[in-house]
């Protein structure tokens, strides 16, 4: 597949969760966790999905991994093996086949591995479930993957249990488990945020190296912009269920345009004691996304909003040049 072909194409993806109240569980409204978002990920590139807690980035990841069913919208995967399929529609056996191509890595390597399974069983399981290869073939594949993720010699790790490994090693096991079935697309939800500084860079470099070597694309979900900068060619910023800005990573870091992105980026502390960073102010805190009004989701906190923003629908994510897309009437 060529460099620029689209691997994942998300169109109008939506997820609502009902909120009930009172002893009779009367429906009070819906949380618009993911609110009609659309984006593309080209083959072999990675997209960083950043935002604060509750912005919908983890829900988006779970929808793409089909751990949650979308309320509406489409998730197209252009895969050499499966052809073009809409992940939002697939069921049953199709879903199982799809799990061979799309995998997910979670944040907490202490929670995501079964403590009673050996490393061999953990990494081999996806192959067994998918019915890939015979015993010998599977074992060879597990050994190869453990070596790829830097757990060498693999023989000294195969029959150990997760509690015998450090956090960094466990996350390497989780990566091996995700990649063992040869996926084309991996959703990584804060895979390094629980790891210590000196361990974290090693895991980040490993993931980057493997993406290039195995031609895997990541949807890299993180609250840490600096990490996203190092992991992804593109960044999308989410706020209250909407993507408010998306573009090429360095362009975004240097010239953020949406008022929320500007405030968010300016609040990131920098490891330089001489730098006197000035944060861009915004009003108040993040509201709850229960049936939000139709206008711009950021209007209540924005310092540049006016009557036009108040009286119109949430702005579309428009291209403002060179693929830098911003959802704001004022940019």
């Amino acid at each position: 597949m060529g460099e620029n072909s689209t691997l994942v194409n998300v169109v109008g993806l939506e997820k609502r969760f009902p909120v009930s109240a009172g002893v009779f569980g009367r429906l009070r409204g819906h949380i618009h966790a993911v609110d009609e978002i659309s984006f593309e990920i080209p083959s072999g590139r990675s997209l960083g999905l950043v935002g604060e807690s509750g912005c919908g980035k983890t829900t988006t990841g779970k929808l793409l991994a089909r751990l949650l069913d979308p309320t509406d919208g489409h998730i197209y995967l252009n895969d050499e093996e499966l052809g073009k399929i809409d992940l939002a529609e697939i069921r049953g056996q199709e879903l199982k086949t799809f799990r061979r191509r799309v995998q997910i890595i979670f944040q907490d390597p202490y929670e995501s591995l079964n403590p009673r399974r050996t490393i061999y069983d953990t990494v081999e399981e996806p192959l067994r479930v998918q019915g890939i290869g015979g015993m010998a073939e599977r074992e060879a594949r597990v050994v190869k993957l453990l070596e790829l993720v830097g757990l060498t010699p693999a023989s000294s790790f195969l029959f150990r249990f997760p509690h015998e490994l450090s956090g960094g090693q466990r996350q390497r096991v989780a990566i091996a488990r995700a990649l063992v079935v040869n996926p084309v697309f991996v959703i990584a939800d804060e895979p390094t945020s629980m790891l210590d500084v000196s361990i974290r860079i090693g895991v980040m470099q490993l993931m980057t190296e493997l993406a290039e070597r195995l031609n895997v694309s990541y949807l890299y979900i993180t609250h840490d912009l600096a990490v996203a900068r190092y992991m992804c060619q593109e960044i999308a910023v989410m706020y209250l269920g909407k993507i408010v800005e998306q573009g090429e990573t360095e362009e975004m870091i240097r010239h953020p345009q949406h008022p929320y992105t500007r405030a968010l980026f300016s609040a990131v502390p920098v490891p330089n004691p001489r730098r006197n960073r000035i944060a861009i102010e915004i009003k108040g805190g993040v509201p709850t996304p229960i049936d939000p009004p139709q206008r711009c989701r950021f209007y209540d906190r924005c310092l540049s909003g006016d009557d036009f923003c108040l009286n119109n629908d949430h702005p579309p994510l428009d291209d403002k040049g060179a693929g830098h897309r911003v959802a704001c009437y004022k940019v």
């Binding site: 960094g168 860079i201 900068r229 190092y230 502390p269 960073r277 944060a279």
Partner: protein, 326 residues
Amino acid sequence: MKDKNILSVQNLTMHYRTRKGDVSAVDDVSFDLARGQSLGLVGESGCGKTSIAFSLLRLLPENAQLLSGNVYLDGCDVLALDEKEVRKIRWRGISMVFQAAMNALDPVYRVGDQIIEALQTHFRGLSEAEARERVRELFPLVGLDPGLMDRYPHEFSGGMRQRAIIAMALSCEPRVIIADEPTTALDVIVQDRILGELRAIQQKMDMSMIYITHDIAVIAEVSDRIGVMYAGRMAELASAVDVFEKPLHPYTHALMNAFPSIEGEKQELKALPGEPPDLLSPPSGCRFHPRCSRTIEKCMGLQPPFEEMGAGHFVACWNPLEVGNG
């Protein structure tokens, strides 16, 4: 005459007794904190930074053993005090904002009442009205509307609860505040506001602060001086600028190169080989030597002394980096 240091920690050594043996959590750590100064203690999990804080407050669990060392708060040896005397030091001498302290508020009491209770415990004879007045003054300092003092914790967001905890820590006007990962669980915009408020309060009230965090960027922004800890020992202690620009310890240097930033050009990050040691059986000599790129024979057998190598720049290393090599 008043000493310029409000707090002085000398050769502090502390072990945790466990079934598997002794964990050498804090080993021969010394540092001073000047009046009005902020000191950042930075290091990875298990490096002993929180254990130091607990030692200073004498809040150690039962299996902890203070083996040696002295902690002087304004000239008074904290480790020599009995439990009754220690209680007077907590809050009024040193108070602490714990990691995820926002979950420490009692859900069934109004937020303001919890601070009033702390005040009345430590200032006998303070009337309810006086205590309320004090809380009303404290709330705006930490960015809270005084009208919120009669609300319950569940009516506060995470950031607001953390602010209330900071107000509580400030309430008895302590001489030293220890903030242990005060903003780690918070989103970046809220974190930035709270750190800004803490800095402003520190300057306004000329308070001495110890920040404890694993986040090098946060420590760079809030500290006058920085202590870098590794495996229970202080590796390097210097002004914030010197730690970042002229690190002498190879571990400090490696940390600086392993931290991604959104500032400036994208720098190449370098991973550190290996993992932090198990403190049940720490490596001989310098505890960093198995991971260090500058190890010489001496490093494996002998613990390097923690010595001053430039004005106010302390380092424990047999083969430090040259100045200007950072």
